[in-house]
Each structure stands twice: as C-alpha cells, then as structure tokens.
C-alpha cells in the first residue's frame, strides 16, 4: 500500500476551479511532510491537455479519466472511476474541495470504500502518523479536531481556507482507461447562470444585503460587489422575503463563505448568519442601528443609511482603482 496523497481536481467549462488549486497546494504541503508523492486526478471529457496545468501546483503524477459520460458530474460515474483509481493507487489520503461536487463525491467514496470522511476542513495536520483535521460543527459554533483512524482518509477542504502555492510537478498526463456502463441516472439539462457572476463560496470579496435592503432592489450592493470583483450574498431574512434566490444565502442553513473581505449591508447579525461568514478575514458592517449585534463582531463598522453610504464606498473604491 502506498502512502501517497491523491488530490481530486474539478474541471468544467474550460477551467479548473480555484478551489482545486488550493487542494493541490495543500496536498503538496502534506506530501512533503510525509515524504510521499502527490497524485492529481481529474475526470471529464477531452481534458488531457488541460490536465497538464495541474503540474504547476506540484502534482508528481497526473491521472486523467476521459469519457463522454464524464462530461457532467454524476455521483454514479464519478464514484465508480475515482473508487477504481483509489483502489489501484492506494493513497493514504484523498483530498478534494468542499464544493457541491467535492462534498458529494467524497461522501459517496467514503461509503463505497468504507473509509472515514471529514468534510469542510479548515486545517490538516498529522498526529502520530494519523491525519487530524479541524472542521466546523454546529454551524460553525464549534471547531472540532477529528482524527481519521483508517486509510484512505477522505477530506474535503473549504474553498478559500487554504493558500494556493505554485510548485514544480509532473511533465506528462497519464490517461486512465475508463470503462463505464450507462449510468442509471442521467443528466438531462444544465441550467447555468451565464451572467458571469462570481461564485459565492470562492469569491475573494462578498457583499451581502439583509432585511435593511427593504426590498428586491439590491443594485447598491451589486454595484459595490462589481467594483470589487466580488459576489453578492444575502441574509436568511432577505431570502425568506423572496428578495434573493436561496443560492445567495449565507449562514448556517445557507452557504459558508470565507472571503478576504465580507461587507454586511443592513444585516443585523444573527448568530446563524455569523456561522456562515465568521472565517472571513475582514468583516465590515453597515447598519443604521448602532445596537445591531453585527457591530459586536465586525472589524469595521459604519453607522448610517446603507442606501447613502454604500454608493459612496463604491465611488471611493472606483476612485482608488482609477488612481492606482
């Protein structure tokens, strides 16, 4: 049995997810600690040439599985191929990103291989040769250290929680021979948002609106997010009011984000909302009410009318970007 580390990368629409580079970089770091190889695996259709890009993040070997049936993610096909690769390569650790697809396939692999799973990890270390991961529980109210007592340990890494570091790696891509039966499940349609929106969980800046938005008009929040190249989020109350889609919700029952900068506009700051954004590097709150709980945990606050203040911030940033 090898002691290598396998990093599963996610490819779609001509690009790897940023989160996949984070997974590879962390995989490289862990492989160096153990003195083992870092393997990268990627599944898709017509991906061989793109797969070579993974070498820039320190993959010693790159395994690409190509097949028309692997074009879109389906648990059945992806689990089968990845389980085969894992059984063949016998890595000690399998890493992937805590994205929709990553969490999904990691859970399926955990069951298929009867291997321990820790999802949404924030940090990984070894203790007595065993992997120990730090991960949030209870909606981020608690951080738990979990030890994986059997190999392979399967870990998904929270996007934006691990640094991307370039490193020299393999020179060639190994094609994995794919043999698939037609799956029971089929993907009949992908309805993608083509507006070029930045994905909330991977955005470096998130600007969110809450009850204080007072209605569906999020244009001031959208303008600020746009000038910062960020994504728009929403509190649960804004989603419950029907002002924003569920996919925008940040919080314990929504998405968890960890951007460099989180700007909360008109959000009172319920504990469940913090659960979704407390690992942001810098939190800014803009709220009319000085007593709003959001100010008790924000790094910077402005007390004022968001409809007045937010456009002024947007203007100042435009100014700054224009000058620099």
């Amino acid at each position: 049995m090898s002691q290598d580390i396998l990093a599963i990368a996610e490819y779609g629409n001509g690009v790897f997810r940023k989160a996949s580079y984070e997974v590879l970089s962390e995989g490289r770091r862990l492989a160096d600690i153990l003195g083992v190889k870092l393997l990268a695996a990627v599944l898709g259709n017509d991906i061989q040439s793109a797969a070579l890009r993974l070498a820039e993040y320190g993959a010693d070997r790159i395994i690409a599985a190509e097949h028309p049936l692997l074009k879109d993610y389906l648990p059945e096909t992806y689990t089968q191929i990845l389980a085969e690769i894992i059984q063949k390569e016998t890595p000690a650790l399998v890493l992937t990103s805590a994205t929709t697809q990553g969490k999904d396939v990691a859970a399926c692999l955990s069951a298929r291989l009867y291997a321990p799973l820790a999802t949404d990890c924030l940090a990984i270390r070894f203790e007595g040769g065993k992997p120990v991961a730090t991960r949030p529980m209870y909606g981020g109210k608690v951080l738990a250290d979990v030890r994986l007592d059997a190999a392979p340990g399967i870990l998904t890494l929270r996007p934006n929680a691990f640094a991307i570091k370039k490193a020299a790696g393999a020179g060639a891509v190994e094609l994995y021979p794919v043999a698939l039966e037609p799956p029971q499940t089929s993907c009949i349609e992908m309805q993608m948002d083509t507006s070029g929106k930045v994905e909330l969980t991977e955005a470096d800046v998130v600007v969110s609106g809450g009850r204080g938005m007072g209605g569906k008009d999020f244009s001031v929040v959208e303008a600020l997010a746009s000038v910062l190249g960020g994504a728009v989020g929403a509190s649960r109350s804004a989603v419950d009011e029907g002002w924003r889609p569920v996919s925008d919700q940040v919080g314990q029952t929504g998405k968890v984000v960890s951007p460099s900068l989180y700007i909360a506009c008109g959000i009172s700051g319920a504990i469940q909302h913090f659960a979704g954004m407390q690992t942001s590097k810098v939190i800014v709150a803009i709220n009319k009410d000085l007593e709003a709980p959001v100010f008790s945990r924000a790094d910077y606050g402005i007390v004022g009318d968001l409809f007045e203040v937010v456009p002024l911030i947007t203007e100042e940033i435009r100014h700054l970007k224009g000058d620099s």
Partner: protein
C-alpha cells in the same frame, strides 16, 4: 408510493452550544431539540408526494429515547409511522455506522423513495444520505430544490455552483433536500392528537441482526472541540459626513487591512 424519510434530532440552531467536560462533545442538558431543518424539508416533501400519489410515509431515525419526540413531531405533521433505532451502542457510531444501521432498517421495509436532509446541522458532514444510497445500491441525488415523479422515474433539480442541474433516475432512489424545496407545515393540534396513536417502533441493533461491535467501531473520532476565536468588536468609523465615513473605510481597507 412508499416513502422513507431519514430524520435526525439535533440541538436547535438558536441554542447556545456548550462544550462538555470531556472537551470533545457538547453538553446536551439545557439544549432545546428540533428536527434537523433539512430533514424537516424531507418530511414535508414526502407528505406532498403522498398527498398527490397516495402511499405511506415512514420516518426512520437513530438516536436516544429523546429522538422519539422528533419522530412524533413528524407523525403530527402527517407521517404514518416511525422507527427509532435506540441502542446505546449506536450512539458511539460515526456517520458510516449510522448509515449502515439506517440502511439495514430500510431493507426490511418495502420502499420506492428515500428522502434525507442534505446534512444534519450538528455534525455537518454531508455523509449519511449518500452512504445510505450507496449501501442500498440505489441512485443518489443531492441538494434537490424541485422534484417530479412520473412512470417510475424521478426527475430532480439540484443546485450546483452557478446554476441548476436536472437529473433523472429510476425508482427506487434517494435524494437529499436543499432549502427552497418547500415550506414545511406546522403540526396541527388534531395532528398532534392523532400522532399519539400512530405506530412508533423502537429497535435495538440486535433486533436488526447487526453485530454492534462491528457496526459501531468508528473510523473517525472527534479528539477535541473548541470555540472559534471570538471576533472582537472592531472600530466604528467616526466622521462628520457619510462621504467622509466612506472615504475613511476605503482608506483603512486599502492601507491598513490591505484587502482591497
């Protein structure tokens, strides 16, 4: 249509979590308990399917005696019967062990569809639904916001980054819920009265023919718990005008915090 809903009782999302004396679990006294919110969507969706197509809704849960309360709530919402695996050995399981137990229960019941929450809001490990589907060898679809059943097939709309994927699979199948799927109903008073008379079976691992030592051995263990570093109240930016406040914030974010 025989529908099974997997349900977990968890501390309320409003509740204050306290770490227990062992440093690796949370205190469970003084905690208010609820059906994990995503499981509540699962109960609601099962009831809606039953109302349309007929059939039965069976709630399956593993947990302590207290978890019977959560099952009764689901019965009061309209589910037909409940099965609780209450065994001290089951309490030491990890998610894989729980999935093994739940899938063993399900194998003993005729079913067409299993619905589960995408995750429980305590462990947050996104594992049990997928693992139960895997152990039952049935198609699995997660994060569903809309579903339709026709001619022995289920078509699900699932949320993915930046959009929605529409997938279809034959029944029996398992899907997990996403917020937006439905708005769960409240249990009515007559519903609560009726629920008291609905069947709720309690089983042990031995009843299921499971060897507790083999099932229970966890592969993953929480070794310690702590609270995240509490963010301190920061600086309220004080300036004479909204424009001056905005300018000062941008200066700080650029020059001091260096995030823009």
């Amino acid at each position: 249509m025989n529908i099974i809903v997997l349900l977990k009782q968890v501390p309320s999302t409003e509740t204050m979590i306290q770490i227990a004396g062992d440093g690796r679990s949370v205190k469970t006294d003084d905690v208010s308990w609820i059906i994990s919110p995503y499981d509540e969507f699962a109960v609601e969706e099962a009831l809606r399917i039953k109302e349309k197509q007929g059939g039965t809704v069976t709630i399956v849960s593993a947990g302590g005696a207290k978890a019977a309360e959560a099952i009764r709530t689901a019965l009061a919402m309209g589910a037909d019967k409940g099965i609780l695996v209450n065994d001290p050995a089951a309490m030491a399981c990890d998610g894989l062990g729980i999935a093994r137990i739940l899938s063993t229960v399900i194998r003993g019941i005729p079913f067409d569809l299993v619905i589960a929450g995408q995750r429980a809001v305590d462990d947050e490990n996104f594992l049990v639904g997928a693992a139960v589907a895997e152990f039952l060898k049935i198609p699995f679809t997660s994060l569903v916001i809309r579903q339709e059943i026709t001619d022995g097939k289920i078509t699900c709309h699932r949320t993915i980054e930046g959009g929605t994927a529409v997938v279809t699979s034959p029944l029996p199948a398992l899907f997990t819920t996403q917020r937006g799927l439905n708005e769960p109903r409240y249990a009515s008073l007559p519903g609560v009265m009726k629920a008291k008379k609905k069947p709720l079976d309690t089983k042990t691992l031995a009843d299921l023919g499971l060897d507790s030592a083999a099932v229970v051995k966890p592969l993953m263990q929480v070794t310690s718990m702590r609270f995240p570093e509490k963010r301190k109240a920061g600086k309220i930016i004080d300036a004479a005008t909204p424009r001056a406040k905005a300018a000062e914030l941008v200066r700080i974010l650029h020059e001091e915090a260096k995030v823009i």
